[in-house]
Symmetry: C2
Subunit: 168 residues, 2 copies
Amino acid sequence: MLFESTVPQFIKMLTNLNVLIEKSEAFAQIKKFEIDVLLNSRLAPDQFHLIRQVQIVCDTAKLGVSRLTGKEAPAHADTEKSLAEVKERINSTVTYLKKITANDFAGAETKHIKTPRWEDQYLTGFDYVQHHVIPNFYFHMTTVYSILRHNGVDIGKKDYLGSLPFKK
Amino acid sequence: MLFESTVPQFIKMLTNLNVLIEKSEAFAQIKKFEIDVLLNSRLAPDQFHLIRQVQIVCDTAKLGVSRLTGKEAPAHADTEKSLAEVKERINSTVTYLKKITANDFAGAETKHIKTPRWEDQYLTGFDYVQHHVIPNFYFHMTTVYSILRHNGVDIGKKDYLGSLPFKK
């Protein structure tokens, strides 16, 4: 169940993140400014800029899944500067996630998840997903959205949510 | 499982939302401005203001759980104007959520969820939670955070995330 509530949804949201980035690119072209301005924008002087927010969205998904499954994630040096590099970071994360299966999550709910920052404490895999991975993932995804929205990029919540799997 | 991934986390996050609101109140007092300025702030002229964002966070939780469980949710007229009313809206939602149990979610995963906007289409309860309720809940919660952060309120991600259930 932890697989279903993370991997497919993260792949979808990261695909939506690419749509947000592409709409920003189009906006910069129409308004005739360098896309780098948006990539380095933030909502407060002591907040991470957009590129760093994208890196954290990707890392939250990548490291979350890696810790839960033990499947090694691709390393990223956090050196992205250009739009192409930002897109590549997102695509590389999606490529990793697409290789993960529900079987990889066997035992993940009760696994002890540790990070260097937590010292000798741990979260169960289940708590890690609910209290940490999911809220952080959407936090940084929405922060990217908010930075773009604040700067006038023509995006709406449908771009964030993507399509819904309706049935009849 | 849908209970565990929604109700307890929504209660926690709405409690964190109250912390964000209280820090805003303190900030307004120190800076000597009317809290109404923050309550009516937004990041773009065609975005909902903060009060409306809070209403939507609450409704996403309340209506989501109500549709999944069939447990009638309290009605709200969306007339909040003051800080006290905004807090009451949050508290009323938490009170409702605290009455919901895991048993109330029996059969929720395969339930056909319909809303007037979706016409004759439906989402399964599981898809409704993953693709709609959770992404929308965190979207509007983070938008409240972003509006406050942009206006200089001294908040950080720890206020948004709240405490983590660490074990040793």
